[in-house]
Symmetry: C2
């Protein structure tokens, strides 16, 4: 056992650099741990406070009598020698610490002699006792399922939004991108949950391979997201991703795709980015989904987690309005992984018979516009009819929800209809009205039904899911078990 | 005078089909007109109600003694003969109506004999009296500056958000896309204003050319957005856009770029979409900005309205974090209209001297990362220094705003700094934290400083503004007056 688990389910945590000042990171970490109701003990280390947020403070790690499995470092890096001496003292007697998250910056990433020396002190002391280290220079670790949040990012999730089931795990090489992703995810109509979320920092000890290998075997992780700037062992990384991707999807956002971007990446991570062309061709060959934006990353991870895999690439556009439908059609046409499928004459006739007279059915092929004259039942009944076609695994459902349509009623009926669908049959629900349909979207997302703000977002996700599904059909012996 | 003005500044409005049922479009129109505080009289025509929302109802148009300049039709289309007879009666005596917005659908767009007949009745009656018609099959007309909103889209803008100065005018061939754009625009940190907003519907009378020509001369319109599906007189349209674009920017989202999308467009508008390749090459040749998404449309229109034009394509990326900076750099590299510019050794040294020790200055060229160690003044002072470089007209400013940084203080200081900049010097401000920085973004947007959710959005807008600016420098005799 490589101790990686201690980062996610630690028994008791000490925070070196806990602060009484609410504007300091060392205070936000405490607040986050309390907010998620971390189920074990928290020990703030701060020799200028008696207690912080009701938690008794200690002067040193070695003063704490109880067991500590995880230590978080959020002190200025020039204190590292003192802290490591304190840690040594503890380990010589109690020998209990298994993991360190070093959130503080100003270590090896500065490329200064002193920064590198400090990082070496941290790592060498830890290695001596078999302690694993994440960081330095990271924003921390989250495991909402186990009620752990060591970050200093304020996403102010409500209590009922933590501890909810999610299979999405994410690794970020950038703390800022990790923080943005958390805040963007929490800004969705229903805040997005994560299973395990790691800002990996300088990778002075725990690196991509360690974490990916752990997540590969982690039964709670259904899909892995990776934000990648560069990694020296690029070949090993690609081989690892290839192996994992056959078991669970891996979604990658790799920056540094341009020459200048690669220079910026090199100057940031200090490692060689590796040729983007090589990464890209490997991703394509091994069916690894590469996304272009963080928004697409969130949407895609969420969809992989909530939806089953499509059985085939057959696609239908069911729209409540012409403009949005055409907009969606252009995007589907650009995708290499989606094919519009005709319902056939008999089904087209049936569809016509249950829709408003103005509806445009089947023109072009694989496309129907139910028009603004459609009521809630027109939406639901047409969706049901189209979903029954064996050739269609992907329904792109697009509506603006006119003022005169009850958005809450539609959302509830959509939940009922979509929940009835068999494995391998997917509905991508787009409601194009920003904040005005937040509640309708929330009703769907609470039931693990992904929703989209724009049909272009929905098409990108449908394309990614079908890309992966096609890859598995080609690659996995005996095919995928759909029933 | 072609009466187009009567759509935007009508003296008194009659609403045929006004409804007492809050779920009906004919009720929402009334609510919207009251919400924007339309400054003249409103006459609901409804023979089953005494009054609606405090407004006295009338049985017929011809019963109203006061002057009416604009009539809105939101009745079922099978009543058109009766309504036109009523209109004729009124015009024979009072001869005051100058404009009709026919919001109702089920006219010519159905391609049925009866639908076409109804449309003919509407248009022929109107022509007889020189009345101009927008629609049928549209969501209406907005002029927030003149406090007019004839749509049935609920954007529930607050009173102080209406009547504010905006130079953005927009024409949409799709009512649903128009409604989405309105709701997306109103969902921004600070709701986006429009000067004139027209859902053009079937163009049975008023068409693209009429409206564009009106907006060309309209002093209140600084930029024109156009959502286009297809138009029979494509050559005339391109020539009109070409002419206008030399005076004020025109931003176009044209759908039907794919073959199947074009089929869907044809089946929706009933007109031939025209070759997308021809449109696209004309747009490129005439410097007309073509956007790919509605989000890009909103961002670009807002930027053209709020910002001056960049003097040169020189660009600098000033980021508070490495990951977002690299992400931004890749996007800049892909743009054909932005060039990263080095500050030069002396300025690089000065920049280093005012930033935290960890900061990465000028590597790669045209890029600095002030890091999470940067306080508010580091943000502002580095922005000030970079903005002074004559070769740099575009600063892409990217920050996540860490928890320990005061986002409100930063926003206020950014306002002060950006407002001081001379004409032709632009800062594109990206704050990557979703709902968590809504207030900071609102502070900037209230002062007409555009903000972005992602650096990719900012780069797209910078690219569009530089594309247009380059075109003007090439095309306009004597150049652009910057000072």
């Amino acid at each position: 056992m490589n101790n990686i688990e201690a980062f996610f389910k630690p028994r008791n945590i000490a925070i070196v650099g806990a602060s009484a000042n609410p504007k300091k990171a060392g205070n936000v970490i405490l607040r986050n741990l309390l907010a998620v109701k971390y189920p074990h003990q928290i020990f703030p280390i701060n020799n200028r406070s008696e207690e912080i947020l009701g938690l008794k403070c200690y002067d040193n790690l070695s003063d704490i009598k109880d067991q500590i499995e995880l230590v978080i470092l959020i002190t200025p890096s020039n204190l590292i020698d003192v802290i490591m001496a304190d840690l040594e003292k503890r380990m010589e007697t109690q020998n209990d610490v298994r993991a360190i998250v070093c959130a503080a910056a100003n270590y090896g990433e500065t490329k200064t002699e002193e920064g590198i020396r400090r990082e070496n002190v941290l790592i060498e002391t830890s290695r001596k006792y078999g302690i694993r280290v994440i960081g330095p220079n990271c924003i921390g670790v989250i495991d909402y399922v186990n009620r752990l949040d060591t970050t200093f990012v304020e996403t102010s999730l409500k209590e009922d939004q933590v501890g909810r089931k999610s299979g999405v795990s994410f690794i970020s090489q950038s703390g800022a991108m990790a923080a943005s992703l958390l805040m963007w995810g929490a800004s969705r109509p229903e805040p997005m949950g994560f299973n395990k979320f790691v800002s990996i920092g300088n990778m002075a000890d725990v690196d991509f391979i360690d974490l990916l290998t752990y997540l590969e075997e982690d039964k709670d992780t259904s899909v892995i997201g990776l934000y990648l700037e560069g990694y020296e062992k690029s070949r090993l990384l690609v081989e690892t991703l290839k192996r994992i991707n056959l078991k669970k999807p891996v979604v990658v956002l790799k920056v540094g795709s341009s020459e200048i971007g690669a220079q910026a990446a090199n100057s940031h991570t200090g490692s060689i980015a590796g040729s983007d062309v090589l990464y890209d061709s490997a991703f394509k060959q091994y069916g690894i989904v590469r996304v272009e934006t963080m928004e697409e990353m969130l949407d895609t991870l969420n969809a992989f987690d909530c939806m089953t895999l499509p059985k085939n690439s057959g696609t239908y556009i069911l729209t409540q309005a012409g403009g949005p439908g055409i907009y969606c059609t252009d995007a589907v046409s650009e995708s290499k992984h989606l094919n519009l499928v005709d319902l056939g004459q008999a089904e087209n006739e049936r569809l016509k018979s249950i829709l408003p007279e103005m509806a445009n059915v089947g023109s072009p092929m694989g496309y129907s516009d139910i028009t603004a004259a459609a009521d809630v039942d027109h939406h639901i009944n047409s969706l049901e009819l189209i979903s029954k076609d064996n050739e269609i695994s992907n329904v792109l459902f697009v509506t603006v929800i006119p003022t005169f349509l009850d958005q809450i009623a539609l959302a509830h009926k959509l939940v009922d209809q979509i929940k009835k669908l068999p494995v391998g049959k997917l509905v991508y629900t787009t409601i194009m009205a920003g904040e005005y349909v937040r509640e309708a979207r929330r009703i769907l997302e609470m039931e693990s039904i992904p929703t989209f703000n724009s049909p272009l977002d929905a098409v990108r996700v449908a394309s990614n899911l079908n890309n992966y599904s096609e890859f598995l059909r080609r690659s996995v012996k005996g095919g995928i078990a759909y029933e």
